[in-house]
């Protein structure tokens, strides 16, 4: 295997059943499948059949970095995972996850583009990787440890404090369907149940130390110039780029003179950050400040970033009161993990405790947030009593610390009612006989259950058919932030946004203000397709969703236009594969078609239109205004129009060159994308439209 530019050149294959360790040549997959998600899907397609169940030893946990991981490319230190998911519902199909932190880069410095974990160890083990030395080690002493202790112990056993680890908590060990894999304080392979898959293999975690390098094709200067240009356009997290007073108050970027970090040993005055100052870009006030204006902000020690990220979305917090509950006092906060438990009467300690509990137990807040609402509703409507549930509902009035500690532990350890909740919300609700109420939106005032059994993170009723389409076409919560980034977090004026949308997607109609849905227009389909493709690119290069693609810029002279070609430029510079924006887009389209093919195989039907591409009932009705995260959703007059959304689906398939009746890729399309083998295989399974 020769040394490549960008790619490390080999993928580590670890079989836990027979302890065989192999190195797969990355060149088999590149540049055709890019890296990250693209290669992960290809391995899934080639090696795991549609009949394999997520927790079977035959399922594989594919952890893939990309050609940019570990380089100077901004926000590139990420890792993508692909597996058969125990979390998705109603079908346990192939899904993807992506996380930040430092471990993706460490894997690359160790000389690998990724790791394929297969089989099942007879007893708990962990994998230790030190450059080309790979060992499968006993993990009996780690089993049962929380994610922080387990990582520290594994790093200690590496005898190199620069090692990085990723582990499961008790939740993963107990095969909680929604369990996550945790790295460092809070980086997580979340939605999808990756922790349960790891647990099913008796694998506690992976620890990596890499001392090697990631080479690039271009000169350092060339990369640097490109990086500087990119930095001048990229926004604060979530594309929150335009400071007030120009930007609206909703802007993620709340520049102000009196900004301070007060939670650390010394109070630090940050003040107003000039958007043009590249040496202070990570000090911009954003997530932490936006979510925790008020009491929690008192604990904000600093912004903290993933490997090679100049944006730093996370808030590092220290809450000494945690010692009272026996919970680690320092943690990182971002987005929902920060606020998933924050009922009106709760203390901020309870909110932070809830956050630390999910990270140390390895639970998924996106599922838990629904459980809290559902349980409360069941309790209020007399469907369940405190005694039956074994959960102290009354404690919520006193702050909720006991309530949330009990709930989290019950689920993670599958105790009592927790055993049902550990099945994830849709399956658990079904067992409790309330799934219909959930799907109709009658439970808990607001349903929050969208496609694939996941919490409706950006409601299609607020973000139009565009997000409706990305929701149904994906295999999980799509978690792509272009749309909300533009209309919610950027702070840009809708007129300016519409001009950008016109330039990118062909019409101003592509984007609606939040909750003001206009009838479907083909530019909305184009927008959705662009989101899908840039999503593949994000998870394959990788770049970070909270920053890329660069749809908008904070730059009035550019009329706030970003630059959608940046990813292809970075890719070409680093790998030496000279791809234009269109060529990279084509590769992304190939991967997305492969994603669809994998889905068809998992669902055992080519007619995804009627089955997979489905939104629950409630999305065709109006939105109730009670909502836990007020910035994510805003009330809208009515829901989506059923007929209109079907038109949207038909047009999306048409624009993709897919069969309009079933939503399946046609032979013609697959062959055009150099996926003839995929078409043949689908045809042999009778899953190719005529």
């Amino acid at each position: 295997m020769r040394e490549l530019n960008g790619w490390a050149g080999k993928i580590l294959r670890i079989n836990l059943t027979n302890n065989k360790i192999e190195k797969v040549d990355t060149e088999r997959y590149i540049p055709k499948y890019i890296g990250g998600l693209g290669i992960g899907l290809k391995i899934m397609w080639d090696e795991v059949s549609g009949d394999v169940k997520p927790l079977d030893p035959e399922n594989k946990l594919i952890l893939m970095a990309g050609p940019l991981t570990g380089t100077l490319s901004p926000s590139s230190g990420r890792l993508t995972a692909v597996t058969k998911s125990p979390h998705t519902w109603p079908v346990e199909h192939t899904t993807r996850g992506n996380m930040g932190g430092h471990i993706g880069a460490e894997i690359r410095f160790a000389g690998y583009d990724g790791i394929i974990v297969e089989g099942k160890a007879p007893k708990p083990v962990y994998v230790a990787i030190h450059d080309d030395k790979v060992a499968i080690r006993d993990a009996i002493h780690l089993w049962g440890l929380d994610t922080y202790d387990a990582q520290r112990q594994m790093i200690k056993e590496m005898r190199d404090s620069r090692a990085k680890a990723m582990v499961i908590g008790v939740a993963g060990e107990k095969l909680v369907r929604t369990a996550v894999i945790i790295h460092d304080l809070k980086s997580a392979l979340g939605q999808g149940g990756f922790g349960a898959v790891m647990g099913s293999k008796n694998l506690k975690g992976i620890v990596v130390r890499g001392t090697g390098r990631v080479k690039m094709a271009c000169s350092p200067k060339e990369l640097l110039d490109l990086v500087e240009y990119t930095k001048s356009l990229i926004a604060a997290p979530l594309h929150g780029i335009i400071p007030p007073p120009v930007g609206s108050a909703a802007s993620g970027y709340r520049a102000r003179d009196n900004l301070q970090w007060v939670g650390g040993p010394k109070k630090i005055s940050i003040g107003r950050v000039d958007p043009k100052d590249m040496n202070r870009m990570s000090l911009r006030p954003h997530e932490a400040d936006r979510r925790f204006a008020g009491k929690m902000a008192a604990y904000h020690v600093k912004n903290i970033g993933c490997f090679s990220c100049p944006v730093a979305c996370k808030s590092y917090m220290t809450v000494p009161a945690m010692n009272r509950f026996g919970i680690p006092q320092s943690g990182e906060f971002v987005c929902l993990s920060a606020t998933w438990y924050s009922p009106p009467a709760s203390t901020h300690e309870a909110t932070f405790a809830a956050k630390q509990l999910i990270d140390t137990l390895g639970l998924n807040p996106w599922d838990l947030v629904m459980w809290v609402f559902l349980l409360r509703w069941m309790h209020e409507t007399g469907r369940i009593t405190e005694k039956e549930a074994g959960i102290p509902f009354s404690d919520e009035k006193k702050g909720g610390e006991r309530f949330i500690t009990t709930l989290c532990n019950k689920i993670a350890r599958r105790e009592g009612l927790g055993d049902i909740m550990a099945e994830g919300l849709p399956r658990g609700a079904m067992k409790m006989g309330v799934l219909d109420d959930v799907l109709r939106g009658e439970a808990a005032g607001r349903v929050m259950l969208c496609s694939h059994g996941m919490w409706d993170h950006y409601d299609p009723r607020s973000y139009s058919q565009v997000l409706g389409l990305t929701w149904v076409m994906d295999n999980r919560d799509p978690n792509r932030h272009e749309y909300p980034g533009m209309v919610l977090f950027s702070g840009a004026k809708i007129e300016d946004i519409k001009q950008v949308a016109k330039a990118l997607y062909g019409s101003e109609n592509a984007i609606d203000p939040i909750g003001k849905i206009t009838p479907y227009h083909p530019s909305k389909g184009r927008f959705a397709i662009s989101i899908d493709h840039h999503g593949v690119i994000k998870d394959s290069l990788p770049t970070c969703d909270w920053v890329f693609p660069v749809v908008l810029s904070p730059n009035p002279e550019r009329k706030y236009m970003g630059d959608m070609s940046i990813e292809s430029k970075l890719f070409s510079a680093v790998t030496g594969v000279k791809w234009s924006e269109q060529e990279l887009d084509k590769a992304a389209e190939r991967c997305w078609n492969l994603h669809r093919a994998v889905t068809i195989r998992d669902w055992k039907t080519a007619n995804l239109r009627e089955s997979h591409d489905w939104l629950p009932e409630v999305y065709y009705t109006g939105l109730t205004p009670t909502t836990p995260v007020s910035t994510v959703v805003s009330a809208t007059e009515g829901g989506l129009d059923r007929k209109d959304f079907e038109t949207a689906k038909t047009d999306y398939y048409k624009q993709r060159g897919w069969d309009e009746k079933t939503g399946a890729p046609t032979r013609k399309k697959l062959e055009e994308l150099d996926l003839k083998d995929v078409a043949d295989k689908l045809a042999a399974m009778k899953l190719l439209p005529a």
């Binding site: 922080y148 520290r152 890499g210 020690v301």
Partner: protein
Amino acid sequence: MESRERKEMNRRCFLRQSMIGIGVVAVGGSVVFPYNGPSGAFGYPAIPNATMVVMHNSALCIGCRRCEVACSTMREGASQPSRARVFIDRRYQESIWTDGQFTGETCRQCEEAPCLRACPAEAIKVDEKTKARYVDLKVCNGLGNCQRACPFNMVNYFEDERKARKCDLCGGAPECVKQCPATALRYVKWDPRYDDLD
């Protein structure tokens, strides 16, 4: 705490230097390594003080390690934190679980640079412009004395090449400082009270 520890390091550094000087004299006064001794004393030529230095601020640092990536990319031609001359990762574990006050390690461009004094080949020289202490790779013969001599472990010795690297302030335009998105690294006037600053 932090700064006390550093002061202690400085003291040790000073003691070590004096010892080297005395050691050389004890061998009989013959000056084998003209730089192996404190400036001015025993007739050794003085090293001019550095004019600038890169300093790290623990409170602002976001732990992104762009500095390590920039240093290795720009100076070694490939991203490789293990070959940087600025270190965040070495002491990352100490703080990430407790207080988030990352200890970034940069070269102090010491007054009595022990690295320089320790090199019998005189491969460590003083840059004309910045007065940074740098390794002349053409002269470096891979002894590794400099690495052992640096009280702060700031010399990065490449086993495969058998050559040492240390921070040379990038000729006056530090790449690490340019890439730091938090002003946690700053290019400032050199000051012997390095550890008391900030």
